[in-house]
């Protein structure tokens, strides 16, 4: 059930691609906003912090939607000629990315709770505290938030490098699968459109 999508069997579902690039933009923005705001003493500190919290919550919600889309439309397989270890690293790094985009906002929320801060997302909109007020817990979570964010950034760097390696060196189908899939890579027979077909035909041979 890997190549489920009719038009681009070797590619991510268009919604998955939209979410990937939208979230790549948001997550990179968040990482820069985060390290920038804790360093600056200018008025940027205030509006970056005001942006950071609602944007972080948005990323959390989008990540959940993205996983649902992934479950409904499984991703295409990696090229069969990719070394097994490389495939394993690719898959592991994707799960690390998903884990971080879900855990960072939760740690951010929990750390503000433990610090006894109001968790305002703009205006009078407040999240309830996840934990009770405790300075020591705050310190652990705040430092965790920092190192998880650094880990996310390093993983994104490696991920981007790997994607470009696929696109520029190996020149396989991996980069197009997340960008503009080439129609000529489609290996299915021409799709026969039947008026009643609600489910796109599968490219896989029927099971016996």
């Amino acid at each position: 059930m890997n190549a489920k999508h009719a038009t681009y069997p070797g590619a991510f579902h268009p919604l998955a691609r939209l979410l990937h690039w939208l979230m790549a933009l948001l997550i990179l923005t968040m990482l820069f906003v985060g390290v920038g705001m804790v360093s600056t003493v200018s008025e940027k500190h205030q509006w970056l912090l005001a942006l950071h919290k609602p944007l972080g919550v948005t990323i959390f919600v989008l990540a959940l939607i993205r996983l649902a889309v992934r479950w409904r439309h499984p991703p295409p397989p990696l090229p069969a000629d990719m070394p097994l270890l490389m495939q394993w690293v690719a898959h592991a790094s994707h799960w690390v990315l998903y884990a971080l985009m879900l855990s960072l906002p939760l740690v951010g929320w929990a750390m503000l709770s433990a610090g006894g801060y109001p968790i305002s997302l703009g205006g009078s909109w407040h999240l309830p505290p996840l934990l009770s007020f405790d300075g020591e817990t705050y310190a652990w979570l705040r430092v965790t938030h920092r190192w998880l964010a650094y880990l996310l950034f390093v993983t994104v760097l490696g991920h981007m490098g790997a994607a470009l390696y696929h696109g520029l060196i190996r020149r396989d189908d991996v980069l197009p699968s997340m960008t503009f899939p080439r129609r000529e890579t489609v290996v299915v027979e021409p799709v026969i459109v039947t008026p009643t077909a609600s489910e796109p035909p599968s490219s896989e041979p029927p099971r016996v």
């Binding site: 003493v41 801060y117 505290p129």
Partner: protein
């Protein structure tokens, strides 16, 4: 996925260089934004490092206003400020719980109470629905400087000289001479005396804020708390006692709650909101918004104010920060100080170890 039309792999060096460039540029931009490539830039870390240089590192303690005491009470609004701000803390008859802290400026938690003529009062109001209002006020009419850079320069110019243990008068003099905005503060401090009590002082927020009313209109304000107690009911300084303020407070609270009026001054057009070195003219309309009542005190190493960061930019709906450049700098620097001291309490790896409360002298 065999694809006859696929291009063969290519190992040309420029392709590798392009990948490397993309990674290096992104990592470099990140390091630049984080301030790692520009250690000379004024950052929150650098401000707190310099405070530490002056006051020493005292694990678990605030990096400024290190010596202090926790207090608990409430604020009772009389409704006078409600037509200027929608904040629920100002609704007529509302009562808002408060956790506060009296302190001395400076990074040394063992400084004698008579060593500075300034005391401070910080308040955290807990409003309904998770909202909060935090403010940190000093017992002085103006702040010496208007910008974070000038604050930093003042810190550096008044660092203790390793030879004498005291600031070098030449350096300090040069700083004040080149910063005429410090004049009002210097004139005040010349005659200021260390008070015998925390509770007889007036504490001023100094930075300007906005009150936002029901129609969305903003009113530039500054607030302060003025004491009801003006008598000398306390113990006063005892000869040779460096910690008389806490004892005085304890004794007065044993006789009953202590009160302050929260007074809010409204700016006229043209009054500066971005310059804490300038007082607003004395005839500005001032409202008495209600009474702050302090009922009990606790030592800061075990009291409820210990792990509170009195970041003055934490305000509820109905209050907004102004364009005063000190406010974001305070917010950023207090967060650094807060993380350092809580990390020391938590004995995080790499943090200096804070002693447990019972080990504090």
């Amino acid at each position: 996925m065999t694809d006859p039309s696929r291009q063969p792999p290519s190992n040309q060096p420029w392709r590798w260089a392009l990948i490397g460039l993309a990674v290096v540029v992104l990592a470099g931009a990140f390091a630049y934004v984080a301030g790692w490539l520009t250690p000379q830039r004024l950052s929150s870390r650098r401000l707190v490092d310099t405070l530490q240089e002056g006051g020493g590192v005292h694990p678990g303690f605030r990096r400024n206003h290190a010596k202090g005491v926790c207090v608990v009470g409430y604020f009772e609004s009389n409704g006078e400020a409600a037509s200027y701000s929608t904040a629920s803390v100002f609704a007529a008859g509302s009562r808002t719980p408060v956790v506060g802290r009296f302190a001395l400026p400076g990074g040394n938690p063992y400084a004698p109470d008579s060593s500075v003529p300034i005391r401070s009062f910080a308040l955290r109001f807990a409003l309904p629905h998770g909202e909060q209002w935090r403010t940190g006020m000093n017992s002085m009419p103006v702040f010496p400087v208007a910008t974070p850079q000038a604050f930093y320069d003042q810190l550096v110019a008044t660092l203790p000289d390793p030879a004498t243990g005291k600031p070098d008068p030449k350096k300090a003099g040069a700083f004040f001479a080149s910063h005429p905005e410090t004049g009002a503060f210097l004139a005040w401090v010349k005659t200021a005396k260390p008070s015998a009590s925390y509770v007889t002082e007036t504490y001023e927020a100094l930075n300007a804020f906005y009150f936002v009313d029901g129609t969305g209109k903003r009113h530039a304000v500054r607030w302060k708390v003025t004491p009801v107690a003006t008598d000398d009911a306390g113990t006063g300084p005892q000869a040779g006692d460096p910690d008389y303020l806490a004892k005085d407070l304890q004794q007065r609270l044993a006789q009953g709650p202590l009160r302050w009026h929260l007074r809010v001054t409204l700016a006229e057009p043209g009054d500066p909101t971005n310059d804490a070195t300038k007082q607003w003219p004395a005839d500005r309309h001032t409202i008495d918004a209600g009474t702050l009542v302090i009922e009990s005190e606790q030592p800061q190493d075990s009291g409820p104010c210990r792990d509170v960061n009195y970041d003055p930019t934490i305000v509820p709906e109905g209050i907004a920060i102004s364009d005063d450049p000190l406010l974001p700098a305070r917010s950023a620097a207090y967060a650094v100080s807060y993380l350092r001291r809580t990390s020391e309490e938590a004995h995080l790896p790499g943090a200096a170890r804070a002693t447990t409360p019972s080990e504090h002298p």
